[in-house]
């Protein structure tokens, strides 16, 4: 069982590793955006020091870590979801059902394999370049990095669960891609990619911090910045795990409804 999904994840990792030109182009884009955002943040934090509870160095670090995690957590898409929607649209999904493997675990393994590649291939270089050009508040000891890695893994799982739900809607809607676009838009806004969610005022900020998307970027970055330690760290993990469990559970329900639809109604 575990071995099958390990092979699936490893295959997915290799698959993305073969697209070297795409990786290089992506690193370039992330780096350019990192510079633009870092300068924007610098201007903003010069005006409003301590905005959102971050000092300038932390704010700029926030930018670069977000750029490094953008593809890993597939905040704005780029994961398995396009392929799944396409298989649903063409009916290929029916033959997937024939395999003695659980579809949700199958796609989860694929997406985590991809995330692992994107963390190394798309994440490391921009962060390194950012650290060379700016004074970043990165931890020097290994422990915060480990805590960060765990939070990123949970964030990637929550992200998968959200996109799995969105992609499965293609079974009922003619335009599955539309739902995906909506989900990517929500991801862009509510993950904290544009601005840290702590900057949002009042009820909107409150809401944004409670939604699952905050697991994707906001929480992992805060863990790395040392803003969540001790019980606050446990709380952060519990929050991510809770959303992962709820969303994966919802995914299973939707999956069995979709399977019934294919098997009983014939697609």
């Amino acid at each position: 069982m575990v071995r099958l999904y390990a092979v699936v994840a490893a295959g997915s990792f290799r698959r993305y590793a073969t697209y070297r030109a795409a990786t290089a182009a992506g690193v370039f884009t992330n780096t350019v955006f990192g510079f633009i955002l870092a300068h924007t943040y610098t201007a903003l934090w010069d005006e409003r020091p301590g905005l959102g509870g971050y000092d300038l160095s932390q704010a700029v670090t926030y930018v670069w870590v977000c750029q490094a995690l953008l593809m890993t957590c597939a905040t704005m898409g780029g994961g398995f979801e396009d392929e799944l929607v396409e298989r649903i649209r063409t009916g290929d999904i029916a033959i997937d059902l024939h395999r003695p493997a659980d579809p949700q675990l199958w796609w989860l393994a694929r997406d985590l394999g991809r995330a692992a590649f994107h963390l190394l291939g798309r994440g490391a270089a921009p962060l390194l370049l950012g650290a060379l050009a700016f004074d970043l508040a990165l931890p020097a000891s290994p422990l915060p990095w480990l805590a960060f890695a765990a939070s990123v893994a949970l964030g990637a799982t929550v992200s998968f669960a959200l996109r799995y739900l969105a992609a499965l809607s293609a079974f009922w809607l003619m335009d599955g891609a539309g739902v995906l676009h909506f989900s990517w838009l929500a991801g862009m806004f509510f993950s904290g990619m544009l601005l840290p969610l702590t900057v949002f005022p009042g009820a909107l900020g409150e809401l944004a911090r409670l939604l699952p998307w905050s697991s994707l970027l906001q929480i992992p970055v805060d863990v790395l910045l040392g803003k969540r330690t001790g019980w606050a760290l446990v709380h952060a993990y519990a929050f991510q795990l809770g959303w992962a469990a709820v969303l994966l559970g919802a995914g299973r329900l939707l999956q069995s409804a979709a399977t019934r639809r294919v098997v009983v109604q014939g697609g």
Binding site: G11, R14, H98, R99, V264
Partner: protein, 341 residues
């Protein structure tokens, strides 16, 4: 002697490996007929089919487009639930125990692929190894055999998306067999393949059936596939079984005509030879029809004798024309249902 005894005893004991009894599948199709109006129609894709396939048989399952072949195969794998009737494969109700059945059957849908598109072929096989929990030694042995017989050696490290249609199909067939399935369903495995690839696939399937006694159910539009592979052929049309017997028997009921396509050096009036009638002339190319049961040799010899022949080929009667003839000869009811022999 002993082997024959087992063969004949088996279906009696188990009642056959694949058993269908009055199998039905109805689709509700909703069609938009106006801005707000929707019309619901029912399609009886499979309309009461019964047959039994014994272990080790190799059966052709043929019929025109939309006859219900793929729908039957989907029900046999469990990815589609029947609307009525009874269905057992190796004693298992496919739609109830899809996963348990999956470990005992292999499927190839010629129009689709189960291989991992972006990765080298070998990666898909490693996946099968884990997915079907194939013992290591068995996996290596089966892979080696498939690689040799299907000529996959040079293709293992090639990403599937770079394979030609015929190469991909051979790759898919191997993927369906690594876990030693007792039954193999092939839904148009030779579609779009060239003559050489078709021959390779057929030879492989014949060996598989002969050596491992794998039961094979094959749908195809190519009667030559059936001729080379299957002792038994079932014809379905509009979801009903209209013939179940040997291919020779089918030709006897619905004598098709084969077509001789003749290329001459230059344009000539229609060729006149005994045993064939001209059906079409187009410049230097002519078409002649002759009974499918007759030999082409004397006709070819006569043409070569009397005409400036450049090239010629023989076209087998297609399933559509065989079925059309079947109806014109015997308008109603199933034709000569097959006994238990």
């Amino acid at each position: 002697m002993a082997e024959e005894a087992i063969r004949t005893a088996d279906p009696v004991r188990t009642g056959g490996l694949i058993e269908l009894d009055g199998l039905e599948r109805v689709f509700d199709v909703r069609r938009r007929t106006g801005p707000l109006r929707r019309e619901k129609t029912r399609v009886r894709a499979v309309d009461g089919i019964s047959f039994t396939v014994s272990r080790g048989e190799m059966v052709g399952y043929i019929g025109p487009n939309g006859a219900g072949k793929s729908t039957t195969v989907k029900m046999l794998t469990g990815i589609l639930t029947p609307s009525g009737g009874r269905l057992r494969v190796a004693g298992i109700d496919p739609s109830r125990e899809r996963t348990r059945l999956a470990r005992r059957i292999g499927v190839v849908f010629g129009q689709r692929t189960t291989l991992w598109w972006d990765l080298p072929l070998i990666d898909s096989y490693r996946l099968m190894h884990r997915m079907y929990r194939i013992p290591d030694a068995r996996y290596r042995q089966n892979l080696e055999r498939c690689v040799e017989l299907l000529d996959l050696g040079a293709l293992l490290d090639v990403p599937v998306r770079q394979l030609s249609l015929g190469q991909r199909m051979r790759g898919d067939i191997a993927a369906a067999l690594l876990h030693d399935p007792e039954v193999l369903y092939l839904d148009e495995p030779t579609i779009g393949l060239d003559v050489v690839s078709k021959a390779k696939v057929r030879e492989f399937l014949r060996d598989l059936n002969a050596e491992r006694a794998t039961t094979v159910l094959l749908t195809t539009h190519d009667l030559t596939d059936i001729e080379h592979l299957c002792n038994r052929v079932m014809v379905i049309d509009h979801g009903r079984l209209v013939y179940d017997g040997t291919l020779t028997g089918l030709h006897a009921i619905a004598p098709g005509e084969r077509i001789l396509v003749v290329d001459l050096e230059h344009r000539l009036p229609p060729i006149e030879v005994a045993g064939a009638r001209p059906v079409r002339v187009e410049g230097p190319r002519q078409w002649l029809a002759f009974p499918a049961s007759a030999s082409a040799a004397p006709i070819v010899a006569a043409i070569a004798d009397g005409y400036p022949l450049v090239d010629l080929s023989v076209r087998e009667p297609d399933i559509e024309s065989v079925i059309a003839r079947m109806y014109s000869e015997r308008p109603a009811g199933p034709v000569r249902p097959r006994g238990s022999s």
